[in-house]
């Protein structure tokens, strides 16, 4: 296997708030190969979005990356100056956001916004820039792209605006795209269209993707590997099918088991007790222990990632029995 295009080692991003230090990302590591799609799954407050922003060096005050390494195509991003980092963003690594209504500037045409994104990295003639922009719009499935360049965002539907945002992210053929729940705000029928298209785009262009989502079903049909986040760290990672069929971390197992599809209609669902912990007052040791029915005294210490084959988990008492899979 070739070198990973993106390699994250022990990334820590903390927010220094009035109420205390919020360890939003606390020791995240993963590798991403060319053209690979990794699903980064977690609930709200698990640190998945902050991880995404950290990869691009876009953490707003009072947060900052306190340690760890993000290597993109061999370059250490955390060591770059602001302007060096800027020249990478949008060029080698770009990002798509959840709410397509909020991401585009309502006062500028699609063409102007795409032109700005092109000019940020390349000197192109007006004509070349326009044809590049139109080409990308066509690629993401926007008909009569040349005319649409002169349209304003409000003239597009939500799904179409998200396609525009994707086109902007793809303008410079980045090696990695970080996608932060880009289909959550869209209708299922539009979501399906976009998921399908993104998968093809990744395959065609060799762009690797970090697909952030709270929805296991979405990433399971898209990503070839998964990382499950809980309380600022990855608690389990591995190839999608293996991980979903045979989860080792009790949290992953609980998440899968709690899906309505996993129980017969009308019967009680398997539920994870308790609530997601506040990142300000994390318990010592394994953060999942208070909600975990397998927890013992051992869990008062913090488990390290156990690696086996191409997967890993952070648990002293991993689930070993293969989960029963109803047809």
């Amino acid at each position: 296997m070739s070198d990973p295009v993106l390699s994250v080692k022990d990334l820590k991003t903390h927010f220094f708030t009035r109420a205390g230090v919020v360890k939003a990302v606390d020791g995240v590591s993963f590798d991403l190969a060319e053209g690979e799609i990794m699903g980064l799954v977690g609930e709200s407050g698990s640190g998945k979005t902050v991880t995404g922003f950290s990869l691009l060096g876009l953490v707003d005050a009072p947060g900052r990356i306190v340690s760890g390494s993000v290597r993109l195509k061999g370059t250490e991003l955390t060591a770059l100056t602001d302007s060096e980092l800027r020249s990478r963003r949008g060029h080698d690594i770009s990002m798509i956001f959840q709410d397509p209504i909020a991401t585009l500037n309502p006062m500028l045409t699609i063409g102007q916004q795409m032109r700005m994104a092109i000019d940020a990295h390349e000197r192109l003639s007006a004509r070349a820039a326009e044809s590049r922009a139109a080409e990308l719009l066509t690629q993401v499935g926007i008909p009569s792209a040349k005319e649409r360049l002169r349209a304003y965002p409000h003239e597009f539907s939500g799904g179409m605006r998200q396609r525009v945002a994707i086109a902007i992210a793809l303008l410079h053929r980045p090696a990695v795209i970080v996608a932060d729940e880009p289909t959550t705000a869209l209708d299922v029928s539009i979501q399906a269209q976009i998921l399908f298209q993104m998968r093809d785009l990744a395959r065609e262009t060799g762009t690797a993707m970090v697909w952030i989502s709270h929805d296991l079903a979405v990433v399971s049909s898209l990503a070839s590997k998964l990382a499950v986040m809980y309380a600022g760290r990855i608690v389990e990672q591995g190839p999608t099918a293996t991980l979903l069929r045979d989860p080792r971390h009790p949290y992953t197992a609980g998440l899968i088991a709690s899906l309505p599809a996993m129980a017969a209609p009308g019967t009680p669902l398997t539920q994870i007790p308790g609530t997601t912990p506040s990142l300000l007052s994390l318990p010592a040791g394994c953060p999942f222990a208070p909600r975990c029915d397998r927890a013992t005294d051992l869990c008062k210490a913090d488990p390290d990632m156990t690696h086996q084959d191409n997967r890993g988990w952070r648990c002293f008492h991993p689930v070993t029995r293969t989960a029963e899979v109803p047809a």
């Binding site: 209708d187 399906a192 929805d215 399971s220 049909s221 599809a261 129980a263 007790p273």
Partner: protein
């Protein structure tokens, strides 16, 4: 089938509210949107006592509006909603407490400046279900019922997590001792691990209290799990209705089929990536819906008849109905 909750030919229009200037401009020949939106169009449903009816569809299909019409929050433009033969609204005002609502976002549905216990007690006191003096115990009972510690009644909403807030919202609705509960996307804004808790609570309560329910959700798997029957909406109309297993198992409407096909499912065994069955195009603007069957521009089975004539709702099997000219063709495809 004895109907407990009846929705008869209910429609709701949202007017365009033109300004005087726009009216003049329209007269001068300028293009101005003048059509009103028919958010819910001639919907009839009947729900048996103790039954849970799921209401599914994409955003803008009118499922939330229909929920509000049933709950007596919005008055219908025409048609009526009755519970056990008695109307929910009379001349634009809600006249019953027998139907209560659980809203989508528990962060917005609780008054941030009121102690949660007071929020729960408010309605029952106003309607004589309890007294000011007895309210504490009354609320405590409902708190326990929904799995909350009664001592939390003196706290404010911001001190609770999303799941706990949704429990409070459920307690508020149930404290009014309703017969009918409208749940408008009650788990959509909750974390996955919390969703299961609330769904379980919902199943337990509807069974124990013999509640009749309308459960609105865009998440088909949730609806599939909690409902007895399901109604599928598209652009303000109900396109298909029937028992959950049958509707999702062998969809009689091409839209139901496509909607179900485009929902990402948890793929456990595929090392090769799944193929999505996607619907082409987007939901048309409700301001200018297509002619005939609203779904025909996106429908693979569409014929000339579909663009000319709106399909009537017709029975398919026992308890099942569909509004499609080509449902037999669709059924054949689905069972194949």
């Amino acid at each position: 089938m004895s109907s407990f909750l009846s929705i008869d030919n209910v429609s709701r229009l949202f007017g365009p509210n033109l300004t005087t200037g726009e009216k003049i401009a329209a007269k001068l020949g300028s293009k101005v949107e003048t059509r009103s939106v028919r958010a819910v169009s001639d919907v009839s449903l009947s729900v048996r006592k103790g039954e849970t009816l799921g209401l599914v569809g994409e955003s803008g299909c009118g499922k939330s509006t229909l929920g509000r019409l049933i709950a007596g929050i919005l008055p219908p433009t025409s048609g009526s909603v009755t519970i056990d033969g008695k109307p929910v609204m009379e001349s634009g005002t809600k006249v019953t407490t027998r139907v209560q609502t659980v809203f989508q976002d528990p962060f917005a549905s609780l008054d941030p400046r009121m102690k949660v216990g007071d929020t729960v007690a408010e309605g029952p006191i106003a309607h004589g279900l309890t007294t000011k003096g007895a309210a504490r115990d009354y609320v405590a009972g409902w708190f326990e019922r929904v799995g909350l510690d009664p001592v939390w009644a003196d706290r404010y909403p911001h001190q609770f997590s999303g799941g706990q807030r949704q429990r409070i919202a459920i307690a508020r609705a149930l404290a009014m001792q309703p017969d009918v509960l409208i749940c408008d996307e009650p788990v959509a804004s909750l974390d996955v691990s919390i969703q299961a808790q609330i769904i379980n609570l919902f199943l337990e309560l509807t069974r124990d209290l013999e509640l009749t329910c309308v459960f609105i959700s865009h998440d088909l798997s949730v609806v599939q799990h909690v409902s007895d029957r399901v109604a599928v909406m598209y652009l303000g109309r109900i396109v298909e209705l029937g028992p959950v297993a049958e509707v999702f198992g062998t969809p009689a409407h091409p839209y139901t089929s496509a909607l179900f096909g485009s929902v990402p499912k948890l793929v456990l065994d595929a090392d090769e990536l799944v193929h999505f069955e996607t619907i082409d195009g987007e939901v048309p603007s409700p301001l200018s819906p297509p002619s005939g069957c609203y779904y025909h521009p996106r429908c693979p089975l569409a014929s000339a008849q579909c663009s000319a004539q709106q399909p009537a709702t017709q029975p398919v099997a026992e308890l099942r109905a569909v509004a499609c000219h080509h449902f037999e063709q669709q059924l054949a495809k689905a069972s194949a």
